[in-house]
């Protein structure tokens, strides 16, 4: 097999398996399919981290022109991911807690956990510590859209809430209801 890793225009290094046509077909053999899904999960999460993408929808496979084209399509070998195939991959990711359906009770869009909520909680806490915002009340908007770009920039609110919940449970944050929404106060304690 003469497949080799390829670099996309956005600077993402695609693995060599992405150039193999069988990679875009669902495999009936369960063992083969498990390995196959594992590689796809890894590509999706790696690419999401690379481009800071938080959401993957089934429609991304159906409609070209989205953020995910570099991964879900391979023009060189004339192959693309079929929506049905993608939704089965998403289901497997959700079952492995590498993603969660967002909004819940549907299966067309997922929130990708290229960092788990626990990891995000650590990131949030260390960011607050580094920027000296402990013990002050921060609105969610201030966290996801800070004046100085941070690792938390453009983070979707559901994911942020989950991270804050993790902190709340370990006693490092307190959710405060403010007039125009919600706020959070982060503490130094716990750690």
């Amino acid at each position: 097999m003469a497949h080799s890793p390829q670099t996309t225009p956005s600077g993402f290094l695609l693995p060599s398996i992405h150039s193999a046509p069988p990679f875009f077909t669902e495999q009936p053999n369960p063992n083969t399919q498990a390995q196959h899904t594992e590689q796809w999960t890894r590509i999706i999460l790696t690419y999401a981290r690379h481009k800071r993408l938080f959401v993957l929808r089934v429609e991304d496979a159906a409609v070209p022109g989205g953020d995910w084209d570099e991964v879900l399509r391979n023009e060189r070998i004339n192959r693309r991911m079929l929506p049905s195939h993608l939704s089965s991959i998403l289901a497997s990711m959700v079952s492995k807690n590498l993603a969660v359906y967002e909004p819940p009770k549907q299966i067309h869009a997922v929130l990708l956990y290229w960092r788990l909520p626990e990891e995000w909680a650590d990131v949030l806490h260390s960011w607050a510590t580094a920027t000296g915002q402990l013990n002050t009340i921060l609105t969610y908007y201030e966290i996801t859209d800070p004046p100085v770009p941070s690792p938390l920039s453009n983070m979707p609110l559901p994911l942020l809430r989950r991270a804050i919940n993790v902190l709340t449970r370990s006693g490092r944050a307190q959710i405060i209801g403010v007039a125009d929404g919600e706020g959070v106060r982060l503490f130094a304690g716990g750690k």
Binding site: P15, P21, T25, Q27, T32, Q35, T46, R80
Partner: protein
Amino acid sequence: MALQRYTAAVDGTIPIPALLYGDEELLASQDNVGIYDGLQKAPNHQTGTVHVSTHRLFFIHAQNASSCSFAMDLLHVIRTAHYAGLFKSSPKVTLFLDASTSPDPAAGAQIESDDVFESWECEVCSHRNPPGLSPAAARICALCGVPRSAVPSSRTHQISSSLPSSTTSLSPSVGSSLKLSSSNDPSSGVACPACTFLNYHSLRLCEICSTPLPQVSRIPVISMKSAPSSRSVSPPPDDGDPAKHIIKLSFRKGGDKVFYSVLRRALKAQAWEAWRLILRDNMIGSSSLAVPSPDRGSSPISRPSGIDSILRNVEASAQNTRTDLTDALKDLEALMVKAKGLVQLAGELNEKLTASSTTTPAPAAGSMAVASPFGSTSTIVVSSPTSPMFSTTTLVPSTEPEEAKFIRSSLSQLGLQMSNAPVTLDMIRDERRWIEELARELARILQGSADSYSHQKSVGIMKERGIVGLDEVWGGWNRARGIALIPPSTFLQILPLLPSYTSPPIRSRVFKSGLSVLHTPPYTHAAFASRLAGCLLMSGSQTTSQVAQEENITISLAGEMIEAVEADGEICRDDSAAAIKGGGSGSGTEIRWWNNVFREYVWDGQI
């Protein structure tokens, strides 16, 4: 004398039902009957069978059925008497015959035969009446009830033309009473029936109008056309002797009472009378046969005609069908009852066999007779203590099971196998030998026979192919067998034995879809998988049809085999439905096969 006058000879070798008219019905029969003509025994009619039908009385001679049998119309009978018999005298039935209805022996028979054996068309309704009805019934159209004799001239001509042979011989004896009338004197010429011109007597056609003239020689016949008046003259009635009008039936072996009652009933019913009455109403005394006999005083039975008769005919035939059907079903029910008995018998037989076979293996000669109460053959042999004991004891175990096996296998072949009967080893051995023979035959069919004489023509089904569908093999084999076809169940039983009779061994294989094949070693799963893997390694990827072409097998078969390999995880698929361009989800998509690219893959992308 009475016999000659009133009876007509019939051929007794013909079965009675075939002699009957269409509307006649056989009522009773009695054998061992002799006939008295008048007061004397009729010498030619002493042993025979008497049958009485609704219309006639038959006598069929026991030995000379063809020459000495006769039939007599019941319409001649005016009175009957029964004599119960005394000592050596047999019971007798006396029939008193009516002198006035005594038929003219020649003319009557002629007319009768004309009527009975000829189908005719009613000129009123054009219904074609079938032949075979009784003389009276045959004169009336079955459909519309119009009498046949309404056909006027043609019939009288027929009669007159049939008469001369007898009447010419009769006229000299009658003499002057039949003297030609003066108007028919040859000198005065012959009157033309059309124009009344008096032609010269030797002319055959009328001089004026060319109408055929009546022949001179037939003139006396024409004058005799009104038969009844002359009939009473020609055979002088001899009423003085009553014995001339008596026939006796002597019942040598009994049965007289039953027969007599049936005969009386038939006479009372007067089945012929119904038709005669109609005849009388419609054609007033034109025929001598239709002369009514009012002295019988029978109540006139009205005969239906027109639509009513059609409906009645239909009803009658439906009734007949129904009775036939119930009779047939009765037979079937009887058979079922018998079958139940048969099954029971088989069961009993089986139990006896089981019991005897369990007791016989212990050849303790003295206790044998007691020990085997069921096995009839063994008890008979052993219970005779004086017979040479040694030979019987050695004989019993060898023959008895053989017979038992035979009987039991016959029972099982009849489908009467009992549930409690064990399937013996012998039966299995027989079946196994059979199956083995079949396997050998199938091996010959598949691989060609090794015989030297058929070396050039016998090429087996699998000679050139390594893998063949089971259906094709079955069909080919049965075609080779011609008859005595092999059922699929037996065929499947044979397959496991096949490898031991073939070289290289041919094995059967069932795919996931249920497709069954026979294959040679190169087409085993492992061999095919390694071959496919090597092929894919060289060429990168292949479609199913390419593989099929390579392996020289059908595409569907290749698909089955490849999918089996895929199930092992050796290869993976690339469906062209996932193509960006030119793919799509149509029927034109094809699957390409790759070696498993996921297995042993090490991540070489971005971390």
